[in-house]
């Protein structure tokens, strides 16, 4: 029996009392491509962080080459030949691509000083060696696109000739050609005996490249397979059959009015988008990260300035100077990153829940504490938020409960139009289902929901229609019934050059 390249043995990790991993075990061999799959919140990101040295496990151990190791940080892992491309990129924005690629191993010139010209040249050569010709090594990282950054981060990791390579959602913003490139690199690495572990949501990718698949659920591993049926995998990942995951799609009422319209709307990263959103409808936005979805949401919410085009609410043309104006018009936004854009982590559940309705709770400038407490409690009760009390800091709650508080904030605000951006990201399975039920219920009650998700399955099952965005325009429109995740993904990654 060969010694595994890397193993996690009964690893446990908890954040603030909430267990992210419990007795999780994992083994990967040299010269194999191993996929780690699971829902958001199942623990796969945490596992990768532990294996990559970014996080220390509370229990259990990590073994590399059969020997137990205690990784004090990513650098310790690097020394043992294990490199990670994390989901949160670690490029330095105000330094050049070349400086980032060759950080800590810059070519030296006279007097042992870094030779900057040689650094740029070597970076050029490095990128060329891996077939990357479209990134200028002299450009600042801040100035290149998200996909280019992801490619650079991957090249940086590969260029260290790793024995073990971890890739956490490496293709989240890569188009088809770039994914092909990555897989070519992965195959080449496999030939040389590197162990590659990656996480992904996309079955097409996993099927085409992975030798083995390990499925995570609820913070532990539930099985490792060399071949598995997709439906069976979903059942293992979620504990239920696919059909039971999502609530049934309530058909749209016949003459539902269009409550929100965009007409040739253009802005930062958005070339042109037009759509109608009707009361009771769940309209999905799909596509790769960085192709304009975030900006569409921001434009609709008054958080970004439109260059041209029109927004109509209830038939009336509106121009929102700030989120305040959009909220007054009945639009709510649950943003991408709840920790940095949505929640006040150090403040209480109560303060977070009532943030959007402070005006209503104010009489002559003074806050009505009782009313506030009642409103916050109603959110906790109706959404079943698991917290020790409304006075607890919201940063102490689990991801799913945090998301519920955020959603609750907007339910209190009684907005008819809800812009939901990746609301199930980093949320555990049980809460996800509650959120799906909530979305369905809100739609049937007459709310109009614009729903972006990085998970094409969600879009396929929850939405009446899905607009797939590419490069700032709508590349495809799919209508229920019959939307599949495959359709969404292929519309998203299809190259210009392909037919």
């Amino acid at each position: 029996m060969s010694i595994a390249a890397i193993e996690a043995v009964d690893v446990g990790k908890a954040y603030g009392g909430v267990a992210a991993l419990t007795k999780a075990s994992f083994t990967a061999e040299a010269g194999e491509v191993h996929a780690l799959v699971g829902e958001n919140g199942a623990g796969k990101s945490t596992l990768i962080k532990i294996l990559g040295g970014r996080v220390r496990p509370d229990q259990g151990e990590v073994r590399i080459g059969g020997r137990p190791v205690s990784l004090s940080g990513p650098e310790a892992a690097h020394k043992l030949g294990a490199w990670t491309v994390f989901q949160e990129l670690t490029l330095l924005p105000w330094m050049t691509v070349a400086e980032n690629l060759l950080l800590r191993r810059e070519p030296r010139g006279g007097f042992g000083l870094i030779d900057r010209a040689a650094t740029a040249r070597e970076a050029d050569a490095l990128l060329a060696r891996y077939g990357v010709m479209h990134v200028d090594p002299r450009a600042l990282v801040e100035d290149i696109s998200l996909a280019e950054r992801q490619v650079v981060e991957i090249v940086r990791a590969i260029s260290h000739d790793p024995q073990i390579l971890f890739l956490d959602e490496p293709t989240s913003s890569l188009v088809e050609r770039e994914v092909e490139w990555l897989f070519g690199q992965i195959r080449a690495l496999r030939q040389t005996g590197t162990c590659i572990v990656f996480t992904s949501h996309r079955w097409g990718e996993i099927r085409s490249i992975a030798d083995r698949i390990t499925i995570c659920r609820g913070g532990t591993d539930v099985g490792t397979f060399t071949d598995i049926d997709e439906d069976e995998a979903v059942r293992l990942m979620t504990g239920r059959r696919v059909e039971a995951l999502y609530p049934p799609l309530v058909p749209l009422p016949a003459a539902a009015p269009a409550v929100l319209e965009a007409a040739d709307l253009a802005g930062p990263n958005v070339k042109r988008i037009s759509f109608e959103l009707h009361a009771g409808e769940v309209l999905g936005l799909g596509g790769l990260a960085g192709h304009g979805h975030r900006e569409v949401f921001r434009l609709l919410f008054g958080d970004a300035h439109a260059n041209s085009g029109e927004i109509r609410v209830g038939g009336k043309s509106r121009h929102f100077r700030s989120p305040r104006a959009a909220i007054a018009a009945g639009i709510a936004l649950v943003p991408e990153d709840r920790k940095t854009e949505g929640l006040l982590l150090q403040m209480s559940v109560r303060d977070n829940a009532t943030l959007a309705i402070l005006k209503r709770l104010t009489h002559f400038g003074v806050l009505d504490r009782t009313a506030e407490r009642q409103a916050a409690q109603s959110v906790v009760d109706s959404l079943r938020v698991r917290t020790a009390g409304i006075g607890l800091a919201v940063g102490a709650l689990s991801g799913g409960n945090q998301q519920k508080v955020l959603l609750g904030r907007w339910l209190l605000a009684e907005c008819q139009i809800l812009l939901l951006y990746d609301v199930t990201r980093g949320v555990d399975v049980a809460t996800k289902h509650e959120i799906y039920e909530l979305v369905s219920r809100l739609a049937s009650e007459g709310h109009a929901i614009l729903f972006y998700s990085s998970d094409a399955e969600e879009l396929a099952h929850l939405c009446h229609r899905v607009l797939v965005m590419r490069e700032g325009v709508v590349a495809a429109e799919l209508s229920a019934p019959g939307i599949t995740a495959e359709d969404i993904v292929s519309a998203a990654v299809r190259d210009h050059l392909a037919a």
Partner: protein
């Protein structure tokens, strides 16, 4: 043993206020030991009056630090206010009220300009308020001809002087004013929508913006309040000293920041309250007075002052880790 009981009963922020007050009490005791009469009623009253000037400036500084900003224009807004007060009132009680309104209004206006530059033009707080300090210095020196103008030597109106030197029930009016300020500011921060918005902006300005809070408006108002309180301190100071002088605002910049921080307000914003700054202002003033009572020379006072602040910061810092 008692430390852990305290920890249970009081959250971290309130603990720091307690520490700051305890430090003041201990320092009073030390002062009394070194020079009997230090902690007598007269002695305490005198020290509190001096602390009130720092305390008033610290009120404004508290507001802006709570949103992660800072006001470096304190010295010359204060100085400008004091000169404006005497030159527009010319030592007459009849003119006191209009002069008061004008001075406080100008202070608030300058603060609002600071806030506008920071919120609307994206100028970092350090740069904006530093530049404003220079602008106010230039304007003040220029318009007053370097304090050579005819009305520059005027005295503060007797009613203002009385506010500082005379009192009610043995407490000088300026201390009553400080108490009112304490109640008003604390009420504002704890009970009103504006106060809540202040804390949310300090915690996460982006999230507050996306929840519909008018972050720019809040910023401008908070800096306006800072200018207002700097002006108020200038008025009180000129009531204390009788006449205005150049450079009288200089010591109050760093002292106000130190008072706020010692009182447990987090320098990056979002946590703390004015009661802490009050405690900080009192402790710092008592510290300086105790060092004077020790007959410690200038340099020694400076060094001890710095060391004490570091010690308190380290104490708070270590708590941060265990909290």
């Amino acid at each position: 043993m008692s430390a852990s009981i305290i920890r249970q009963w009081l959250p971290r922020d309130r603990r720091r206020i307690l520490y700051a007050f305890l430090a003041a009490i201990i320092l009073f005791a030390i002062g009394e030991a070194v020079r009997p009469g230090f902690a007598s009623l007269d002695g305490i009253r005198a020290i509190l009056v001096v602390a009130s000037f720092v305390g008033l400036v610290a009120a404004g500084q508290t507001f802006v630090i709570l949103i992660g900003g800072i006001d470096l224009s304190v010295p010359w807004v204060l100085n400008a206010a004091s000169i404006l007060m005497v030159t527009s009132s010319l030592g007459q009680d009849a003119r006191a009220i209009p002069a008061l309104a004008l001075t406080l209004g100008v202070g608030a206006l300058i603060g609002a300009v600071n806030g506008a530059g920071i919120a609307l033009l994206g100028i970092p707080a350090v740069v904006m308020t530093l530049a404003m300090n220079g602008i106010m210095q230039g304007l003040t020196l220029g318009l007053s001809g370097g304090m050579t103008c005819t009305s520059c030597g005027a005295y503060a109106p007797p009613v203002i002087q009385a506010a500082v030197h005379q009192g009610l029930l043995g407490v000088p009016f300026v201390l009553w004013i400080w108490i009112v300020v304490l109640i008003a500011v604390s009420f504002l921060l704890a009970m009103t929508r504006f106060g809540r918005a202040t804390y949310t902006v300090g915690n996460n300005a982006r999230a507050s913006h996306l929840a519909g809070i008018n972050v720019s408006g809040i910023t401008i108002l908070l800096y306006a309040l800072s200018g207002f309180f700097s002006a108020m301190a200038g008025i009180m100071l000129v009531g204390f000293g009788g006449q205005a002088a150049l450079g009288m605002g200089d010591p109050y910049l760093f002292q106000s920041i130190a008072a706020v921080v010692i009182g447990g307000v987090y320098i990056l914003g979002g946590r703390g309250n004015y009661l802490g700054s009050v405690a900080g202002a009192i402790s710092l003033t008592v510290l300086v007075s105790v060092l004077l009572a020790f007959n410690m020379p200038d340099y020694g006072r400076s060094i001890v002052y710095g060391v004490v602040i570091l010690a308190l910061l380290l104490l708070y810092g270590r708590e941060e880790d265990s909290a």
